[in-house]
């Protein structure tokens, strides 16, 4: 593999203590959420990150997406360093090159599905015939055709997730961060969306950093998998997943490598 696309060295994060007044005692500083975390992501790689809840997974993605600031360490995307300790210098999404699919879909309730999907193109001033055609193609691929003019409250949970995912894919950022995007869905819809995601990933082979707390999901989707420890977050394990692609998400449990990996990761998460 060539030079890493994202590189994180000695990352540490703690949140500012809540305002001086009203706090109990206030003797000790806020605890570290992440401490001495280092890893890198190569171009085109599908990296899954797993960790117990409260392990700072969302905080980590927020720092990479530059909507939150690191307290210490080094965060580099391509040749650019993210600011450390200075929240005012953050560049969210770093010039539209880092897409972010959050836990909540954050669809704009006053826009229809199509208008939501076109929103990034509209604000980037890239709305034209060919980008529109691409948006329509993605809507069809994700099975949302027929729902273009529906408002978010008229869509099911799975459809909303699909719409949020397409909204990120439509402007084609080279890196996409995903924070438990399928967390709140039922098992059926979830598997379906995992298949959709792999199919969409195959279209463009983007770099994906996918956070989850589901071991099976992390194995089924990723090329490589990071296991985070409890707070303060450190790397508890790292595994290459060599199950050949294209993968069968539904049948992956029967793969011998899957069972062995599953047990090891469970051990690391204890």
């Amino acid at each position: 593999m060539n030079a890493p696309l994202i590189e994180i060295r000695g990352l540490a994060k703690r949140f500012a203590k809540r305002g001086g007044r009203g706090g109990r005692g206030g003797r000790e500083p806020a605890p570290w959420v992440i401490q001495d975390l280092s890893f890198s992501v190569s171009a085109g790689e599908f990296l899954t990150i797993i960790g117990p809840s409260g392990a700072g997974k969302t905080t980590l993605l927020n720092i990479i997406a530059q909507i939150d600031v690191a307290s210490d360490g080094e965060v580099r995307f391509q040749s650019e360093h993210a600011p450390v300790g200075d929240a005012k210098a953050l560049k969210p999404g770093l010039a539209c090159r880092i897409g972010y699919v959050t836990q909540d879909d954050h669809l704009l309730p006053w826009r229809t599905t199509l208008q939501n999907v076109l929103f990034p193109l509209a604000v980037q001033g890239r709305l034209n015939g060919s980008t529109r055609a691409r948006a329509e193609m993605l809507i069809r691929t994700a099975g949302l055709n027929g729902f273009e003019n529906h408002y978010p409250h008229e869509l099911s949970g799975g459809m909303r997730k699909r719409a949020a995912l397409i909204r990120t894919l439509v402007y084609d950022p080279p890196v996409i961060l995903m924070d438990e995007p399928f967390g709140a869905l039922d098992a059926q819809t979830r598997t379906q969306l995992q298949e959709d995601l792999l199919r969409l990933w195959n279209l463009g082979k983007k770099t994906i950093v996918f956070v989850t707390h589901d071991i099976a999901e992390a194995i089924a989707l990723g090329d490589r998998m990071l296991v985070l420890s409890r707070q303060p977050s450190r790397i508890a394990g790292q595994h290459a997943i060599t199950i050949p692609r294209p993968r069968d998400v539904r049948g992956i449990m029967t793969d011998p490598q899957f069972a062995a990996l599953y047990q090891r990761v469970r051990g690391e998460l204890q």
């Binding site: 010039a95 539209c96 897409g99 909540d104 954050h106 704009l108 309730p109 006053w110 604000v123 408002y151």
Partner: protein, 277 residues
């Protein structure tokens, strides 16, 4: 008011169907209305129509006032004052919180004054405005504008504060500028709150106009009320009150119609259910 024109395109049979459907939907409301009128009638009979004008007397005077145009003319003065003051008060009340959104220090400085202005009894300002602007239409408009301003200001501000920070972050990540965020996220998100303020302020606008007329005017519904009181004409007072109520209903209906048009994206709530569509 302009939305009234929309109905004219509907054919006559459609209109009858619409009336029949509304009657069916509003059966219970009609029942309550009848009960209230009955209580009114009983009061009028026991206390005498000198103290409480009879419903029939009020209805006939009301109809006569509409037929000869006198009541409509007086009502139109009040409506014009209320509408002008409403617009004059509501526009800055909506614009100011948006302007202050990115200026927390200015907001903090202004806040206690706004709270003071909100809490002060605006109707007590009426004599002052009459002193400043005379007994013409200007003093009424000023009173209405001040009353409306504070109500709409605080509800708009609440809408901006209730903004989902996640939506803003999403927009920033996909490349939205500060203006994009204001236009596509903050404004549409605050519109329901703006309308809540407008709906709340609407009766106050009409009330404010009438109070200002009561104090000093030679026309308008407030003037009619005052005239009725001076002539010991309770029926006249009741006619003016009935006209006021009709105006409040019309105003409320206009605000609701505008809101339904602008907030089509909202999941059906009690507001849209009331529409009986």
């Amino acid at each position: 008011m302009t939305t009234l024109g929309g109905r004219s395109s509907i054919g006559r049979s459609d209109l009858w169907q619409w009336i029949a459907a509304s009657l069916r939907a509003r059966g219970d409301q009609i029942l309550v209305f009848v009960v209230l009128v009955a209580i009114w009638q009983v009061l009028s009979m026991t206390l005498g129509s000198y103290w409480v004008g009879s419903p029939w007397g009020v209805a006939t005077r009301f109809a006569a006032g509409i037929a000869d145009g006198a009541l409509l003319r007086q009502a139109s003065y009040t409506v014009i004052e209320a509408a002008a003051g409403f617009v004059l008060g509501a526009l800055p009340a909506v614009a100011l919180p948006f302007a202050l959104r990115r200026l927390p220090i200015a907001t903090a400085i202004l806040d206690p004054f706004m709270v003071g202005g909100y809490g002060a009894p605006k109707l007590a300002l009426a004599p002052l405005f009459i002193l400043w602007f005379g007994i013409g239409i200007e003093s009424k408009i000023a009173l209405v504008a001040v009353t409306v301003f504070f109500i709409v200001y605080f509800s708009t501000q609440a809408g901006i504060r209730a903004l989902d920070a996640g939506l803003v972050r999403m927009a920033q990540i996909v490349g939205a500028s500060e203006q994009h965020v204001a236009r596509h996220i903050v404004f549409p998100g605050a519109v329901p709150y703006v309308f809540a303020g407008l709906r709340l302020a609407m009766p106050y606008a009409i009330g404010g106009a009438i109070i200002a007329e009561l104090i000093s005017a030679n026309r308008g519904l407030g003037y009619l009320l005052q005239l009725g009181a001076m002539n010991f004409d309770t029926t006249g007072i009741f006619v003016a009150l009935a006209a006021t109520t009709c105006i409040v209903f019309l105003g409320n209906w206009s605000v609701n119609a505008l809101e339904r048009r602008l907030l089509r994206w909202r999941p059906p709530s009690d507001v849209t259910l009331q529409a009986g569509t």
